[in-house]
Amino acid sequence: MVKKKKTNIKDDRAMLSPAMKMADLVNLNYHLLGVLSRLGVDLGFGEITVGEACRRHSLNVGSFLLICNVYTYDDYIPSGELLFSGAPADIVKYLHSSHVFYLEHELPELERALEKLVAPCDVKQKLVIDRFFSDYKKEVENHFAYEETVVFPYVETFSRDCREQGYSIEQFEKNHSNIDEKLCDLKNIVMKYLPEVCDTVLRNDVMYHICYLEEDLGKHTLIENNVLIPMMTRIEENETR
């Protein structure tokens, strides 16, 4: 444990900072493009800094940096200071818009690509793959729905200084289920087991979608587990003291 922690990046000075130019941020890690659009920060920002961009979009700069750090550095563990400077409401806003993005954009895209890919397969094969995908989609929808109806409202109410009875972020921590297994299964099926009639270019297209989604959902979960939960735990502890 001790040794593991040491290898994690903990030094905030070496990380992203408010004085950085927005353009450098994207040059450093283009995966942040998705993050920016989900936070409502459009491209075309010219030479402005991260701090300025956050001011213009009324985003807490601490929250913004926390999200960008998770996306940029593997094994990132946020420092206590940065966690304290961020606002849970911003994190929730981000998580909510990425839910919307997954449900309205990424999953339908993947579904379309998959449908096109398996079109030449026989009826039974298509049926079983369709069913597998819709099961997966349902699982994701249920997972998100719990967060949207229970966890996020709790965080929002809490942030407005009125503690809701009967729930704590600890319950979320305990109940936070994994939804990555089926997606990983789908990746293996598409990569290894679909019949030869399936087109290679279309297969790659589906693979790119799956890998992107897998990676992005992974970061999404890290933001929940390593940012939102410790942030709320801290605030709850302060409250009860």
């Binding site: 040794k3 593997d74 079983v128 597998f132 990746k187 293996n188 099926i189 019949p195």
Partner: protein, 201 residues
């Protein structure tokens, strides 16, 4: 021991000094050859682990965080069939050590270490190991049962084997195919013509 046919060893040790030391122990004795050293089990390391085909892994369990330490051995088993020996650099709960095939202490003398490792490998060769990456006939049978929605107990009764054996087969199926869920295995079974669509549900 066999000449020119040395036992391939992989070290998963975060401390470079300790890893070098272990390497030295193996180098002096000659019957083991260190094929690689990993400092953690990150995603890239996992891929290397999977493709290395070593017979013995020496791991320092500090690479696992507190929560996952107790299941460290099975995490490695997902990627490799090799015997796994723990290297004890710091004290940990008994449960952590018990899961490994053997425990080597930082203060063990080189001959003691080698002796322990030989015993592990000797015991290991007695248990059948699945060396092929393709599913065996029995694994396919079990997979069909799983795809049809049968429980481990029912499968064990059907083939007159223990539940433990069923679980081992299921682990091997997942390790080989990369598919974890029952729904995923059902798709696999159908695509490979192991079942027909009518037998689902």
């Amino acid at each position: 021991m066999k000449h020119g046919n040395r036992v391939k060893v992989l070290l998963i040790i975060p401390s470079r000094i300790i890893a070098r030391g272990m390497e030295g122990v193996f180098h002096d004795l000659g019957e083991f050859s260190v094929e690689g050293i990993l400092t953690d089990l990150s995603r890239t390391s996992e891929v290397r682990l999977k493709n290395m085909d070593v017979e013995l892994i020496v791991v320092d369990p500090v690479i696992f965080d507190c929560a996952s330490r107790a299941s460290g051995r099975s995490r490695i088993a997902e990627y490799s069939d090799a015997a796994v020996v723990a290297l004890q650099t710091v004290p940990m709960e008994d449960d952590v050590w018990r899961q490994y095939d053997e425990v080597v202490n930082l203060y063990d003398l080189p001959p003691v270490i080698i002796k322990k490792l030989r015993t592990v490998l000797a015991n290991r060769s007695e248990t059948p190991k699945s060396d092929s990456q393709e599913l065996s006939a029995r694994e396919k049978e079990i997979l069909v049962c799983v795809a049809k929605g049968m429980l481990n107990k029912e499968i064990a009764d059907l083939y007159n084997i223990s539940i433990y054996t069923v679980i081992t087969h299921r682990k091997n199926i997942t390790r080989k195919t990369g598919i974890k869920t029952v729904a995923g295995l059902t798709v696999y079974a159908l695509l490979n013509n192991l079942i027909d669509a009518n037998s689902i549900e």
